[in-house]
């Protein structure tokens, strides 16, 4: 008989992502029994808590530890297996791997019970990836804006022109040199700061 509620262990160095996933799993009625960052004592935690499922960052150095535990041996009364061994739908596996999710489950759990948890993990990992990218691109945009502003100020100061003229100068230079305005601005700043 399978227990009604599966217990899940999360192993992730990205604490925010792990929190996001923990909340989401709890909302879906799953019990997260332990949340860990990379740990040399992972094996000990797994043996002590005996989770039904372990969700671990694809890039965690601790994955080889779990691979060892997955090798059937007399020391492991409850062998765990890499989820792909059971879930034979290649699309699911590819989705998980692209999102950076890997999972180990207790032998004998049916794919039907594992899939909803995996789906939540994949969705949260994706969401986190997008948040990261948005943050990175908004930071880049801000930095680029600041570069342009600084180049304009320097032009106004050195050439006594208006802001509109400074902007036109930058735009013309960018078009002539077939470069981005931020690149022209960067060159200008390094030049004018020497003057």
């Amino acid at each position: 008989m399978e227990r009604a509620e599966l217990s899940v262990m999360l192993v992730d160095d990205e604490t925010e992502r792990a929190q996001l996933l923990e909340q989401a799993l709890q909302q879906h009625g799953y019990q997260v029994i332990c949340r860990l960052t990379s740990t040399a004592a992972l094996r000990h935690h797994v043996e002590r808590l005996q989770p039904d499922m372990i969700i671990i960052d694809m890039d965690s150095p601790d994955r080889d530890t779990l691979e060892h535990m997955a090798v059937i041996s007399q020391h492991n009364p409850k062998p765990i297996v890499f989820f792909a061994e059971q879930d034979q739908d290649p699309d699911n596996i590819r989705l998980a791997i692209q999102a950076g999710v890997s999972a180990y489950i207790v032998d004998g759990l049916t794919p039907k019970r594992v899939k909803p948890i995996l789906d939540v993990a994949i969705a949260r990992f994706h969401e986190f990836q997008q948040l990261r990218q948005q943050l990175a691109s908004s930071q880049t945009a801000l930095a680029e804006q600041q570069l342009l502003e600084k180049a304009k100020r320097l032009l106004i100061k050195h050439r006594g022109c208006t802001e509109a003229e400074a902007f036109q100068t930058l735009r013309k230079l960018a078009m002539d040199r077939q470069q981005k305005m931020t690149e022209v601005a960067r060159d200008l700043i390094s030049l004018m700061e020497v003057l």
């Binding site: 040399a40 890039d59 965690s60 601790d62 080889d64 691979e67 060892h68």
Partner: protein, 374 residues
């Protein structure tokens, strides 16, 4: 004399694990052997062998440095879904060692120099200690489908140490020293530079090298999926050729002086090299080689030997199938790449393993005829 292949795919991402034997990939990129073949290669560091296997299997990496048994394990579906993989090139030989904690070494009362002591003699001391103290040892390796893992078990068996006396667990190499210091493990079998680093820190002592156990065993190979190899055959050959050239360079005097600087670049293994003891990069106590007619050749007989280890440890219950091994360890591809570089290659895919001196530490001769099931 660079070979000209009509590469089907020229932008590639290859994976490696930051170890000294990632050298052929790094050299092929940094010295321009990939670009001479018209390939633009990005090297991506990975933190576990499981990750290397999965990313190659599902196309996130085009190819990678792999543990020699891993293409076979993946093809057989050991520990993951069965994804057929192939290798046409052995990248390195040796470089592994078995280290025991300083505390355990003191209990074993080892002489200051271990030179001249055979693996069996060293193992006998450990066996006696275990019998007297009636304790269980915990030893670590990295991947269960690695030569480290098989070599450790081979040595324990050679030493007459019973499986119940030793618990073999998996650990990331970076965690080994701290686990030794904390007394949670008694030793390990890993690749360089981890044995030298741990010894330098005073945590452990190098007991014996893989060269003393299995002198002719492939350690790392270059692997791709069988799908990649069949859809991009020219690209695959171009990669093998460039990597073989890199291996060739690694045997030259320039490599002895120039390799450290290449590996120390930020994208590769700078942190590890900073901690390394002064002196030669490759520890002479742990022989490691990258080039040789017979060394780079993916012997089917070596693959059979590895599959035999999988059987002995209960990882694989089926037969050793020579036809299957031939599809994974692609001697034909090696021969083409070697010919392009005007290098010779062995004519046969099989040899009697253990016959070339020095042989296996246990003295056995391994023949596919006696072990294959057709």
């Amino acid at each position: 004399m660079t070979a000209r292949y009509q590469a089907e795919k020229t932008n590639l991402i290859l994976g490696f694990v930051p170890l000294l034997d990632a050298a052929p990939l790094i050299v092929a990129k940094e010295l321009g052997y990939f670009s001479a073949q018209g390939l633009t290669v990005q090297l991506q560091a990975e933190r576990s062998w499981a990750s290397i296997r999965d990313k190659v299997a599902w196309g996130l990496l085009d190819g990678a440095q792999m543990l020699a048994p891993l293409p076979l394990a993946s093809t057989l579906g050991l520990g993951s879904s069965a994804i057929p993989m192939v290798t046409g090139l052995v990248l390195s030989q040796g470089g592994n060692a078995i280290s025991l904690s300083e505390a355990l070494c003191q209990q074993l009362d080892l002489p200051p120099s271990l030179t001249g002591l055979t693996p069996a003699e060293l193992g006998a001391r450990l066996r006696q200690h275990l019998q007297q103290s009636n304790r269980q040892l915990t030893l670590a390796t990295v991947s269960p489908y690695s030569c480290h893992h098989y070599q450790l078990h081979y040595w324990l068996q050679l030493s007459g140490i019973e499986p119940r006396q030793v618990n073999v667990i998996g650990l990331a190499p970076a965690d080994m020293a701290s686990q030794l210091d904390g007394g949670r493990i008694d030793g390990f079998c890993v690749g360089e530079p981890w044995n030298s680093l741990s010894q330098q820190q005073g945590s452990s002592r190098i007991l014996l090298s893989s060269e003393q156990l299995w002198p002719h065993c492939p350690e790392k190979v270059f692997a791709v999926t069988a799908d990649f190899a069949s859809k991009q055959p020219q690209t695959h050959l171009a990669l093998i050729t460039a990597l073989l050239q890199a291996c060739q360079w690694l045997a030259t005097p320039e490599a002895a002086s120039g390799l450290t600087a290449l590996l120390a670049q930020p994208a590769y293994l700078p942190d590890l090299l900073q901690q390394m003891p002064a002196g030669p990069l490759l520890n002479p106590a742990i022989p490691q080689a990258f080039f040789g007619d017979e060394l780079n050749f993916p012997w089917c007989s070596q693959a059979a030997w590895l599959q035999q280890q999988m059987r002995q440890l209960g990882q694989w219950q089926g037969p050793i199938d020579p036809q299957l091994l031939r599809q994974i360890y692609r001697t034909d591809l090696y021969r083409q790449a070697a010919a392009a570089l005007q290098l010779t290659a062995p004519a046969s895919d099989w040899r009697l393993e253990g016959q070339q001196a020095p042989g296996f530490a246990g003295g056995e001769i391994f023949s596919i005829r006696n072990n294959a099931s057709y």
